[in-house]
Symmetry: C2
Subunit: 575 residues, 2 copies
């Protein structure tokens, strides 16, 4: 156990991954196997009072929360109970060290799971913290296929902060159009956009005004859409594990009249800081501590507001219920409206506050082996509206990269090297750009194993005048250090010197790139496999906003036959 705790307590010295490997080599006395049996099905449900087909796990959306302890092996048997649709589930934030085929990323690490078939995901949860899982196939996440993963510390080890109760808060946005229809619109010429969500969900519950429901089945008294109630005992401290599975929206979450102390993000301890409200982007998780320290004779609103995009969705509401008040008693006040939706500086400043907690810092390598600059743009290709990085709009191949790279099926995807940067001298990120040379590609960034890689994510104007969106980028298979954020164009000479935090940067798996801004990250390519890196907005990745990294694929063991069955993997021998 000492070998395992050492890197946590002594992280200034021991490199992170080294420490982890050391930890793995010493069996944890408490390590268990956590086995789940799930069936994925379509269900008619009313998350925001309007009846709609959802994709559920064992009948529920959000799906069951996976509860495990650090070092446990999680086995999830996923039976695809859909009629004609395949599926795949990604374990977001779990690095899949030694099990890259369990990452659940269709087209990257596996073929999809066919209807009627069962795929077994098996992986070790090597770090404590708050993670999520969700479909990584088409836009199925938007249809409701998602949930939480909570990994606790081994017995006898404590978090570096105290709380009385642990509660889960999953945030999402919700549309009434099916994801099939949304996707068809995104692929159409002219482009058909689903517009802003009809409602925001807190733990799967929202509220839509049924008087606007037309001929749809909508019942505002359906218990499925009664607001989530978080009951608190006066004086107690609550750890809220907040995660965003949003398809599109950047969120601001606030509990009326209560401060929140941020203590964890993406499985890493944060040097505590206090906020009135928390900005959270799709794919991020946060733990915040909230003390029930307000006047206890009433209830308070928990409010979810859209930021970064001009909101056209009512505030999502839950009830922060002081025991023993009636849990359904509406607070007497108006719900918090959140910060100004277009106050980018407010959000940038909150991002800059997030640093690793003292005593739990893993310092990054002080130098890097490679810098890849990724310009994020909206483009038009052959009449289609797309997103691109460095003018390349990503498409998934039909043979998953992990199989293609391991088995050298090089004809299954482009062998050209994707660009390391963009034409910085001539590109004006503040202007609507035509980007006339944008192309589709499924080429891969191949990384030298164990090398250190910096990524500069450079935001730009979209195809709409005076508009730049927030893009939360998520890296599979790794945590990265967040070296810095800044407004405007990244300056490769001065910004690393003046704006990089090489002392106590937070490690994360998902980070926002703010409108017209840049975000710099660093990671070590030490996890053999093939890993997606993409904007976590469901439609943006669908429209090409992503890339793929390969590193040390020659070190990956024999691939399980269960990930094969599509594209050219058909032709491989099976065992």
């Amino acid at each position: 156990m000492e070998g395992c705790r050492a890197p946590l307590l002594n992280g200034w010295i021991t490199p992170f991954i080294m420490g982890f490997l050391l930890c793995m080599s010493i069996p944890l006395a408490s390590a268990k196997v956590r086995r789940y049996r799930w069936e994925v099905t379509y269900e008619l449900q009313s998350p925001d009072c309007l009846e709609k087909l959802v994709i559920a796990i064992n009948g529920r959306t959000p799906g069951p929360t996976i509860m495990a302890q650090q070092g446990d092996t999680v086995i999830v048997e996923v039976k695809n109970g859909l009629l004609t649709e395949n599926t795949a589930i990604h374990w977001h934030g779990i690095r899949q060290i030694g099990t890259p085929w369990s990452d659940g990323t269709e087209g990257v690490t596996q073929c999809p799971i066919l209807p009627g078939e069962t795929f077994v995901y098996k992986f070790v949860v090597d770090r404590p913290g708050t993670y999520i899982y969700h479909a990584h196939y088409g836009m199925q996440r938007s249809a409701g296929l998602y949930g939480s993963i909570h990994v606790s510390l081994p017995d006898g080890i404590s978090e570096p902060f105290a709380y009385d109760y642990d509660r889960n808060i999953v945030l999402n946005d919700w549309w009434h159009k099916t994801t099939h229809e949304q996707a068809a619109g995104l692929s159409s010429i002219p482009f058909v956009w689903v517009k802003e969500p009809q409602s925001l969900l807190i733990n799967g519950r929202g509220w839509f005004n049924c008087s606007q429901a037309g001929t749809a089945v909508c019942n505002s008294t359906n218990p499925q859409c009664s607001p989530f109630v978080l009951t608190v005992v006066p004086g107690k401290t609550y750890r809220l594990r907040i995660s965003s599975l949003a398809s599109l929206s950047a969120f601001n979450f606030e509990i009326e009249g209560h401060n929140m102390t941020v203590v964890e993000t993406d499985g890493h301890y944060v040097e505590p800081f206090v906020v009135k409200n928390l900005n959270i982007y799709s794919g991020e998780t946060y733990s915040v501590l909230v003390v029930a320290d307000q006047e206890p004779s009433r209830n308070y609103w928990a409010a979810l507001n859209v930021v970064s995009r001009k909101p056209d969705t009512p505030t999502g509401l839950a009830i922060f219920n002081y025991y023993p008040n009636h849990p359904r008693r509406r607070p007497p006040t108006a719900p918090p409206a959140g910060p100004l939706w277009n106050d980018t500086e407010y959000r940038l400043n909150q991002s800059l506050k997030i640093r690793a907690r003292r005593g739990y810092v893993y310092p990054p390598p002080t130098t890097t082996d490679r810098v890849i600059t990724l310009l994020n743009t909206q483009n038009r290709i052959d009449g289609h509206t797309r997103w691109a990085v460095n003018n390349i709009s990503f498409t998934l191949p039909h043979t998953p990269y992990l199989i293609a790279l391991k088995h050298k099926l090089h004809h299954t995807f482009s062998q050209s090297a994707p660009p390391e940067t963009y034409d910085r001298a001539n590109y004006d990120i503040f202007k609507q750009a035509a980007n006339p040379n944008a192309t589709y590609s499924d080429a891969v960034y191949r990384l030298k194993f164990n090398s250190t890689v910096d990524i500069i994510l450079q935001n730009a104007n979209s195809m709409v005048p005076n508009n730049s969106e927030t893009h939360p980028w998520h890296l599979h298979g790794h945590d990265f250090w967040v070296l810095g954020h800044g407004p405007g164009v990244f300056d490769p000479v001065n910004d690393p010197l003046r704006k990089y935090n090489l002392v106590d940067p937070i490690m994360k798996n998902t980070v926002a790139v703010h409108p017209y801004g840049w975000t710099a990250i660093r990671f070590v390519a030490d996890n053999p496999g093939v890993w997606a890196f993409h904007c976590h907005i469901e439609s943006h990745f669908f429209m090409g906003m992503g890339i793929v990294f390969e590193e040390g694929v020659e070190r990956v063991g024999r691939l399980p036959a269960a990930i094969m069955g599509c594209g050219d993997s058909h032709r491989l021998p099976r065992h």
Copy 2:
């Protein structure tokens, strides 16, 4: 060419299949390869003015009409352009002699085609006539994936009837709920029924009253939903090739003021008879001759009405336009309302009129080797509403039967023999029956190769009091002789003697079983393969109303690797 024509003209003597094989052994001078490249995609369309996602082929629903000549080889490269859904296409009425893997029946003859992949169907169209194609996977046919196949005679050979022009009429029913939602409802407890269709489509065009559309996009002036116009020249004779792809409805088709002479059904010439209107069931095709012999100064309605179920859908309308009147000029009269919806006798009598055309009769074997009686009932199993035959509700296995039987993967489906009959002595077909012993099964009827098989389809009351539905049963891989239809309970002693037509029965691939009635068919199990036989109502087959026959599977050649990739076919060696 003589070798090929012989069985048609001399069918009284030459057994049908023998004649076909003879034909195949003599290369037709005119035999061509007809190659089609299709992409299956979701599209936003408005077939009845209300915008809805449809599954289209090359952007259209109905898809392209396949035009070929007898003896041609048809090659259809189907690219699955759906995002997360698989597909498979069945060539309905094509017997697939020698190509049982091209039947396109997911779970029976192939694994589904994955998104992004291309499957090549290749088969010979060995008989002239009117056929259809459609998805045979989940309920995708209902989403719009269907079209027509027209096979003409070889050059220099004429039909035994004359006409000036050949026109295609495809009939369908249409719902606004997605097929995913419909299927989820059918699988739910309690059962959720989609109810009657919102509109009826003639060549893919219907009309819905947009004032009832709620918040849906609906535009009654959208050209996509302008009525189909059939322009005729006064005095000319039109061959209308009419087919029904209905998901649910039994149809009656009528052209106001014009008689129709029935001359073909399911690729077989009919001894001509005249009708005022034509009953047509899902999966059937008819050719009728219509003479433009009415007052030419006006247009007339072509009207599509629902029969057998109490209609709750407006009459489907097309315009029978006398040239040179304006094609959009509405006829001055009310559209035909069709026969009484519940006049079963009227429909039974029309069925009884359908006999093989003189000179084109293929007499059936006079005796049979096996009689299988199939009681059609509605059942409840574990709380689910289901259909069953002989109390067995069919489920598809995950390894297609053709692969499982050829490769002896006997663990992949039930090896028990499904029942040959039901408890005739104690079952009252006129009563609501609880059928408490109904079970699910994927067992197969194994037929002796080249044996003659009779099937007695016995209808019964559904779970609704005083209700019995019409079930159009479709047999893959064969035509069958329609030996007889009758009301009430089939009498195995007297009905074969008194009611069977062994002289000039029509051959078909789809035949209706009328409410509370029976239908007897005969076929020769001479086509090596595995063949579905099922109610062609999309929801009924989905709910278990079907069986599967195996015959001579040991004679089937090496299976193409392309049909594999699901269930236990993964494990087979590939070449």
